[in-house]
């Protein structure tokens, strides 16, 4: 029988003390406690109905048990979560976290390499584990993200086509080695768009070009992309059959091989319906496993996405309608439409400092018709499924990584606070740069002069 810790017992007080310490300092900096029990909470496993008065046991970084009548192991640190709610941590699948510290300061940005085709670049290589964005973001209940090269940033107007590989990692740890979930989860393709008008940040004005010229550039980009795919296939064949002595290694082609073999999904950024259709056709012809990213006009191509089984990583609900004749609320109603059509999708911030708005995007979509339980999945579970990480993440089930949030209410509601945060089974601080500055300046005495 497990030893029940009474509130008054010395051992509880010790645990409470440890807990207080752990909240003051990131716990991974302490000798790692390995067993926790969160008890008395309403547990939303996302794998079944919510459990009233449930218990979650965490051991060695993983979820050991979840249920209503779970024995609390004698060696467990117990968190009394009566009145609180327990969920899987949120997953923001397209971010620049760790690659982009201060958007306008290029020295702090490693999000966008020169050149059009850079399949060999891997985001995890340059994710800064000490980024201030990491504690800020996880304080809002986001426990894991993908860093995606080639999107966003002040200098993002270039036309990189294959921008590198996205990496999945937990938002806590001393080094990337400790944080990473999977270094290579997707090859990122910015689908070339026929652009006649683009904004030039260097002159802060619009540049225009004739349609024919834009179309020519588009065709050229797509042909080049196609060429890279074909060469990667030949490369794979040559590597398999050729003599090792005669074989010259090519980093770019080598990196593309898993993608052309369908082992690594391609994350294709596209917004206009025409671009999405073109990208879907292309990936189908080339046998690429496509995930659509951003997808402002996914609603226009629902049948196609459904037929080809293309999941969508949706950009924020907080954007203006794509066109003048698009209904004003389309960005907010689109998630409900995709859900009704049976298209798997996840929400994403496509940002760095806006990652903490993830739950707001999902909540807004609920206001416009998305069922609440589907919205929870779309910030906690679906991205894990789409990127093939659902064996480790996304639900509260035994054996999965213990990335867990304990909240004082509905995690999609703006005012809700994250009370406890577990990443890789460690109780992790929600302290961050913003709270520190707040506490510091709140104590500032009235000015003397």
């Amino acid at each position: 029988m497990s030893r029940v810790i009474s509130l008054k017992s010395p051992s509880f007080q010790l645990i409470a003390f440890c807990l207080a310490l752990s909240l003051a300092f990131p716990l991974w900096s302490q000798p790692a406690a390995t067993v926790y029990a969160i008890k008395g909470a309403k547990v939303y496993t996302l794998a079944g109905p919510a459990i009233e008065n449930g218990t979650v046991v965490i051991r060695d970084g993983k979820i050991a048990a979840v249920g209503a009548n779970i024995e609390i192991p004698p060696d467990a640190q117990v968190i009394d979560a009566a009145g609180l709610e327990v969920y899987p941590g949120m997953f923001d699948p397209v971010t620049q976290i760790g690659l982009n510290e201060v958007g306008a300061v290029s020295a702090t940005v490693d999000a966008r390499e020169l050149g059009e085709f850079n399949p060999e670049l891997i985001a995890a290589t340059a994710v800064n584990p000490a980024s201030a964005h990491i504690p800020v973001t996880r304080a809002s209940g986001i426990t894991e993200v993908l860093a995606v090269p080639g999107i966003g940033g002040f200098d993002s107007e270039g036309g990189g086509v294959i921008t590198g590989q996205a990496s999945a990692f937990n938002l806590a740890g001393w080094t990337m080695e400790e944080m990473q979930i999977n270094r290579q989860v997707a090859m990122v393709i910015n689908w070339p768009s026929i652009e006649t008008r683009s904004f030039d940040f260097s002159t802060f004005s619009f540049k225009e070009k004739p349609y024919a010229e834009a179309k020519k550039e588009y065709d050229k980009s797509v042909n080049e992309l196609s060429d890279w795919i074909v060469r990667a296939r030949h490369y794979a064949q040559a590597k398999e059959k050729g003599s090792p002595d005669l074989f010259l290694r090519d980093l770019k082609l080598e990196a593309l091989v898993p993608a052309v073999e369908g082992k690594l999904p391609v994350l294709v950024v596209a917004d206009q319906a025409r671009d999405i259709r073109n990208a879907v056709d292309f990936c189908a012809k080339q046998n690429l496993k496509m995930i659509l990213a951003s997808g402002s006009e996914s609603w226009k191509v629902k049948d196609l996405l459904k037929e080809k089984k293309i999941p969508v990583i949706l950009g924020p609900t907080e954007r203006l309608p794509e066109k003048q004749d698009t209904p004003y609320d389309k960005p907010m109603t689109q998630p409900a439409e995709l859900n009704a059509a049976g298209i798997p999708f996840a929400f994403s911030s496509f940002g760095t400092s806006f990652s903490r708005r993830l739950s707001q995007y999902a909540g807004t979509a609920v206001g416009y018709g998305l069922p609440h339980d589907e919205a929870l999945k779309a910030v906690m579970l679906n991205a894990a499924q789409i990127f093939g990480l659902a064996d480790q993440l996304g639900t509260l089930e035994p054996g999965k990584l213990a990335n867990i949030i304990v909240t004082n209410g509905d995690p999609l509601e703006i005012q809700t606070q994250v009370r406890y945060l577990f990443i890789k089974g460690q109780l992790t601080s929600t302290d961050n740069r913003h709270r520190d500055l707040y506490e510091q300046y709140r104590k500032r005495p009235a000015p003397t002069r």
């Binding site: 958007g103 652009e195 950009g315 907080e318 309608p321 400092s353 709140r442």
Partner: protein, 486 residues
């Protein structure tokens, strides 16, 4: 610039298709007497009233309470289960501007006036109206230490430009401090010399220099008028200077200064300079480090208009914290939450709610951030900002508590007229879609006819004009792109 941060590229796509614009609502019923009944009224100044009603007459709030009855002939809006708030006031906007937001060629561009370039057809007006916004402080960009003149508008969608300005609202002028006026994050086009100033030192000097000139200009005119009044006949009036006139108005308290700023030191700098010349800063805009010097801002009498949780997009935004609104409020500053962005303005209610999470403001204080407080900052709180008898009937009706993420605006009223109605918007969509399809078919057949004609006359085929300009798509907006507004 936020959208640019979020997305890969700002793309403007050629539209071959004609468009049937959203927001066509010319058949909206009009009535001078309206009763909104059965709602939860969030009055802001007189608490919340359950099962309350608001009687509107001739554009003004005529009665508020639980036992207000509909007079004969009144249009009744049954808002059972819904919430009514004062119309949302956005204290920093760049909507409804035709063309550039920034006259960025000079460091003092006070001669430029946003009121001259109001665009009543900007769809952002409708989009923001659909977020419950009724009033916007439409600002010049932040490329210059002293920017252009600004104007407060009501979002009277469908009315001509002349009817957008908020009657009687004092005009303003935009100032800007820090990275934008010193052009830290922008390079001039090839062949153009960088513009002075390039430091915060130079920004201060630019403002001081301009006010030394303005003070002299005012003195010249005062002297002239005095002599003329004394009967002196052979006088030559001073030469008019459109750059200095608005600054004289600032010195005379006839024009509000809305100053873009980030860092604590530059905010204190402007307070010093203003006090040297005897004028006041009406609002500090963005004011992301306002929490560091909230006491000084409060003592200066300036308001603070800030973002909910934007940070880290540039160096001077790295110490921004989402507790800013709450902390400044705690220290006695009149604070508002603004958008600076046509999209962000669509959910200012959500942004205000963040001040409850970050810093623990009460629900009513959070709501004030987007209603009464910006009204005070703009000097229009005698007209708008709360639900009170005698005030303008500028109202937003939500289906849930507006501080909840689930709240959706159902109707927006300005001057007692329904300018946005969600159900009507939804109902007219099939007709708009049909209009679009009809136009497409027409264009197609016209193109075919032309083709046939061309062949008959032996002319070479001419491609249809594909270069029809489109306004910014969802990935962009006036404030973000043209403004350098943040």
């Amino acid at each position: 610039m936020k959208r640019a941060l979020l997305f890969v590229t700002i793309v403007f796509v050629v539209a071959l298709a004609p468009v049937a614009l959203r927001g066509q609502d010319s058949n909206a019923p009009k009535n001078d007497t309206i009763l909104i009944k059965n709602a939860t009224l969030l009055t802001v100044t007189h608490g919340n009233i359950e099962h309350g009603s608001i009687l509107i007459r001739d554009g003004k709030i005529a009665a508020v309470g639980t036992d207000v009855k509909a007079p004969d002939g009144a249009t009744v809006i049954d808002a059972n289960g819904q919430y009514v708030t004062p119309g949302i006031i956005d204290c920093h906007s760049h909507i409804a501007i035709d063309g550039g937001v920034n006259e960025g060629s000079v460091s003092v561009s006070s001669m430029a006036n946003i009121a001259d370039v109001l665009d009543p057809d900007d769809l952002s007006i409708y989009d923001d109206l659909a977020g419950g916004v009724t009033v916007a402080n439409v600002l010049h960009g932040s490329a210059n230490a002293i920017g252009g003149q600004t104007v407060v508008i009501k979002l009277r969608w469908g009315k001509p430009a002349s009817q957008l300005p908020f009657e009687g609202a004092l005009p303003g002028i935009k100032f800007a401090l820090g990275e934008n006026p010193k052009r830290s994050n922008f390079s001039p086009p090839p062949g153009i010399e960088p513009r002075y100033p390039a430091t915060r030192l130079g920004v201060e000097e630019t403002i001081r220099e301009a006010f030394i000139e303005a003070r002299q200009y005012k003195k010249d005119w005062d002297d002239y008028k005095q002599k003329k009044a004394a009967g002196n006949q052979n006088l030559i009036p001073p030469r008019r200077d459109e750059k200095l006139e608005p600054l004289v108005e600032v010195l005379e308290g006839k024009r509000y200064v809305h100053s873009h700023c980030y860092r604590a030191d530059e905010i204190l700098m402007l307070i010093r300079v203003a006090s040297e010349f005897g004028f006041k800063i009406r609002t500090f805009q963005h004011v992301l480090e306002g929490y560091k010097i909230a006491d000084e801002i409060a003592a200066s009498g300036a308001g603070g208009s800030t973002f909910s949780d934007w940070w880290a997009y540039k160096m001077e935004a790295f110490d921004a914290i989402p507790y800013n609104a709450a902390l400044m409020t705690e220290r006695g500053v009149v604070v508002s939450i603004n958008s600076d962005d046509a999209e962000e303005a669509r959910h200012l209610n959500q942004e205000a709610a963040k001040s409850m999470k970050y810093g623990g403001l009460s629900a009513n204080d959070a709501l004030k951030l987007i209603t009464l407080n910006p009204a005070i900052q703009l000097g229009i709180d005698n007209r708008v900002g709360s639900i009170e008898v005698g005030k303008d009937a500028d109202l937003a009706i939500f289906n849930h508590d507006p501080l909840s993420v689930y709240a959706v605006v159902q109707k927006t009223l300005i001057d007692g007229q329904v300018y946005f109605d969600r159900q009507r918007d939804i109902d007219m969509r099939p007709a708009l879609e049909k209009e679009k399809q009809d136009l497409l078919a027409k264009e197609k057949s016209a193109a075919e006819e032309k083709k046939a004609e061309g062949k008959a006359e032996g002319k070479p085929e001419k491609k249809p004009d594909a270069k029809k300009k489109q306004p910014p798509t969802g990935q962009s907006n006036a404030g973000g792109v043209a403004g350098g507004g943040l």
